[in-house]
């Protein structure tokens, strides 16, 4: 037997997601935001894009790390955002002398990293340059993953480290090693502790939902731009609901 409150909460939750999806599709048809025009400038992405272009000229490589989010947990969403950005970045730098490397901390993310790399090289018309070894599982526990990814981040031929995924404070080891070897390090996570650590350790840090905006800022196409617009609309709606709720409680309308 399902209680009325549980049922109502579930229906409301589903309605929220359906409304979000509808707005996403409608906005895709009506308006596609573009970086520089409709999106506020973010220094981290400006630097990142510039550095990705430079890797082709300098013959160096990109290192993208997507963390260790479990595939059955919502936290993995930041790794999916990282993989979308990785696809675009690898596509842009596919002509570089050295291939991009994607490191992950779980088996499923390792498989998805290889799949993303293969797809990106294929899109760029350089399918022959792809090797499965470029998508690496660098370790299977938090610190072994960080140690393995830090080793790649600090390699001499790495010019850019992009860290986007589910990390803990151990992400500081990866960022610090990249910084020490003069590679641009841009990092973001859904984890608040990792965000604080990245603010101190990385040259450019992505705060809050900025990690989810990486696809839109790197012009990964698809629904990235419109999903950012939809997020903004829902954020304002939630702000109004929270303030309205607080006000209603203050005047005694709500118990």
């Amino acid at each position: 037997m399902i209680s009325l409150t549980t049922g109502l909460t579930g229906v409301l939750g589903l309605a929220f997601v359906v409304l979000f999806a509808l707005l996403l599709v409608v906005l895709r048809v009506v308006k596609e935001p573009r970086p520089g025009r409709d999106l506020r400038p973010l220094r981290a992405f400006t630097h990142l894009r510039h550095a990705v272009n430079l890797t082709v000229e300098s013959g160096k490589r990109l290192h993208i790390s997507v963390g260790r989010g479990e595939i059955t947990h919502p936290r993995v969403a930041s790794a999916f955002a990282g993989l979308s950005a990785a696809h675009k970045m690898v596509e842009l730098s596919a002509a570089s002398d050295r291939a991009a490397i994607v490191t992950a901390g779980t088996g499923p993310l390792g498989i998805l990293a290889r799949s993303t790399l293969h797809s990106a090289y294929h899109t760029a018309g350089h399918t022959g340059r792809y090797k499965a070894i470029y998508g690496q599982v660098s370790g299977l526990t938090p610190f072994s993953y960080a140690a393995g990814a830090a080793f790649t981040a600090g390699a001499d031929d790495v010019a850019v480290n992009f860290l986007a995924g589910s990390f803990g404070p151990e992400v500081a080891l990866i960022a610090e090693n990249g910084e020490r070897h003069q590679a641009l390090t841009v990092g973001g996570s859904e984890n608040i502790a990792a965000q604080a650590v990245l603010y101190a350790a990385a040259e450019e840090s992505l705060i809050g939902e900025e990690v989810f905006a990486s696809g839109a800022y790197l012009q990964a196409g698809g629904l990235h731009g419109t999903s950012l617009l939809t997020q903004d609309i829902f954020r304002w709606l939630l702000v109004v609901v929270i303030l309205g709720g607080a006000l209603a409680k203050l005047v005694g309308v709500l118990p």
Binding site: I2, T72, A77, A81, S84, G107, G110, I111, L238
Partner: protein
């Protein structure tokens, strides 16, 4: 044909799991649990694939005569796997591996992390000068002083009793909730992009 089929399967499974999460009817929740169990089994198989991948990467380094550490890593990885597989995860040899090797190594890296973060904090004002950096570092120092006090003096009366709890419970909690709200919306948007077939990290 491979990509459209994979996309259709991913979308259908995603929608079933989503509906099962929100609508607590036995048909949906049962299907959701079954699919999640499959996902957990597949994740286990993927873990094994990950181990093979890690070994491949380090084997290439061993062959290029660049990695004594890589040889040690491959040996340790497979030794741990076979010991755990043979004796069972809760057995004495497996527990010894974790308690005597993995745990001390992790604690050692935690020590390195503390030093790394201190170095990063010292470098921060030079690398990113500004109001937010001053605010960040001042808050960090106050929280540290409020939590551990000063050696030889002990806890500081005003900082430990009033300032640290207020900083943690009012501005920090409010900021964290704001950030989490944005993260939640970003998570929904990312999930929907995959459900709608716009993002396909699984298709080659």
């Amino acid at each position: 044909m491979k990509a459209p089929v994979a996309t259709a399967v991913a979308m259908a499974v995603g929608i079933v799991v989503l509906v099962g999460y929100f609508i607590p009817l036995s048909i949906f929740t049962g299907l959701r649990m079954l699919l999640l169990q499959w996902a957990i089994i597949l994740a286990g198989a993927a873990l094994f694939v990950g181990m093979v991948n890690l070994s491949q990467h380090h084997w290439a380094r061993i062959r290029a005569r660049r990695g004594v550490g890589s040889a040690w890593l491959v040996f340790s990885l497979w030794a741990t796997f076979f010991i755990t597989f043979y004796f069972a995860p809760a057995s004495l040899p497996t527990r010894w591996l974790f308690d005597a090797i993995l745990l001390p190594a992790s604690v050692a890296l935690l020590g390195v992390l503390a030093v790394s973060l201190t170095v990063a904090a010292v470098r921060l004002p030079r690398r990113r000068p500004g109001l937010f950096t001053i605010l960040f570092l001042t808050t960090t120092v106050l929280i540290l002083l409020g939590s551990i006090g000063i050696p030889g003096v002990g806890s500081l009366p005003f900082v430990s009793n009033l300032l640290r709890p207020w900083l943690a419970q009012v501005p920090a909690a409010a900021g964290a909730r704001g950030i989490l709200l944005g993260v939640a919306l970003g998570t929904v948007a990312t999930g929907l992009r995959i459900l709608l077939g716009s993002d396909r990290p699984y298709s080659e």
